[in-house]
């Protein structure tokens, strides 16, 4: 599977459960090692790098489940992320306040992250990923469990990451409305294989994609996988 992500674009990654999307994010961010193949970051081979070293070099990620630093305050959650990539104490504070504003989290700045409602917590994950001023952000189901009504605002945030920060975003989500809305390009993954690639309009029209989701057999290889 080959995938390129450039700065200033949002690339969507969709596919049914078990398609290998989260594995891909883990490999890209350094939490898993690829069996074969390589990961490059701005021309440098980073396949052997640890997760925190990639974080230092402009690659940030969010997690599928909540990985908030629960007993730290919401502001500290973001500050720490800025500190982790070398910001000074004052700069980290400023950056945190900025991001809390952008993601509508300012009212909860001093509350422990554990007390956040689910939707706020998803946004905190994004704020934390952005704190390091990354050049690339991998978002693993950031909208999972987000109330429907909040999705448009969330889409605006992702666009602002692309447009205002110039970052490249890899977006995995099951919310098709969100994917179709914000992505410049979409990859469809099924059983670890890239099934299709194209603009949202092309993907919407692509029968293979529908088949992957709906379970028609024609598109599958006959090889049996022992997952």
């Amino acid at each position: 599977m080959t995938l390129e992500l450039h700065r200033g674009e949002v690339v969507g990654l969709i596919g049914p459960n078990g398609a290998g999307k989260s594995t891909l994010v883990n490999v890209l961010s350094g939490f898993d090692r690829p069996t074969s193949g390589a990961v490059e970051l701005e021309g440098r081979d980073v396949t052997g790098w640890s997760a925190h070293r990639r974080g230092h070099h402009g690659l940030a990620r969010t997690f599928q489940h909540s990985h908030a630093f629960r007993s730290l305050s919401v502001r500290e959650n973001v500050e720490v992320a800025a500190l982790g990539t070398g910001a000074g104490a004052r700069g980290a504070r400023r950056r945190a306040d900025e991001l809390l504003g952008l993601l509508a989290l300012a009212p909860y700045a001093d509350t422990p992250a554990a007390a956040l409602a689910h939707g706020d917590e998803r946004r905190l994950g994004v704020a934390r990923a952005l704190a390091s001023e990354p050049r690339f952000v991998l978002m693993d189901e950031p909208a999972a469990g987000l109330p429907e009504a909040e999705v448009p605002d969330f889409a605006a945030v992702i666009r602002s990451v692309r447009d205002d920060h110039g970052a490249g975003v890899l977006l995995i989500d099951h919310n098709m409305a969100l994917i179709m809305d914000v992505c410049d390009r979409i990859h469809v993954l099924d059983q670890g294989v890239s099934l299709a690639e194209g603009t949202p309009a092309q993907i919407r029209a692509n029968l293979d994609v529908a088949a992957a989701y709906l379970g028609e057999s024609a598109v599958h290889t006959d090889e049996e996988t022992t997952a």
Partner: protein, 302 residues
Amino acid sequence: MILGILNVDWQTLADALALGAVYALMAVGIGLVFGVLRLVNFAYGQLVMAGAYALAFASQWNWPRWAGILLCFAIVLALSLVMDRLVFRPLRTQSPAVMLVATFAVAFLLQSVALLWFGPLGKIASSLAPLNRPVVISGVDIRKIAIVAVVVAVLCLVAVQLLLARTTVGLQMRAAAMDFRTARMLGVRANRVIGGAVLISGALAAVVAIMLTVQTPLVTPDFALRDTIVVLAGVVLGGLNRLVPATLGGFAIGFASGLLGGALPTTQSQYLPSILFAAVILVLLIRPNGLFTRGRESLERV
């Protein structure tokens, strides 16, 4: 050849084998409970200590040998069940670190209780002392207990193995050690499986108490404390996730410490704990998941 270098005689070798065998039993006792509860029982040595006191009191009261052994089993099994009920059960949902600290506390508690009730001076468990005498086998003196310990340990290991392999509750214990959640959803009763593991583990502690009191008849509140620490190191060294590696780890560290203790001159053998634990740390650095386990765990889990 190696024996020649270390200048080991047959007596030392037999004693080392015996110590390894006893430690292997302790390792199984610790490993079984870890399997189903993910709990490292630091207080395992205090179960052995309680059993040893039972034997000491039985000798003091001039009970027949069998009655003393029976009392030892009764006390250790009862204490195991109480420990499970009062400590393990309320802690089941806590993190491994909390559980480890809690059993650390229980270990100290029981030791202090023994100190309070029985005093620091210790009692003598003498009823099995004749086993300490040597027999001569093809010209070599070997203590009877060394032979008895190895034979009993092998029998116990075989019995545990049969129980795990051939009985329904054994099968359920093995399944629970691999994936407790799924086992429960299949209808495997948690309390029964845990109770089974705790009881077997307790029975092994009683056996260990009997073996150790023969070699060290003086029973004090810190009886078996040092052994437990060494066995714990051995168990982690072998690989705590599975019973066989854990047992091998227990045997290996017992055998090694028996061998080194017997082979080194006194001026050096006093540093035996340092040598042993330095080796343990070294191995853990190279193989954090254990010496006798296959493969490596993945990186950090997401």
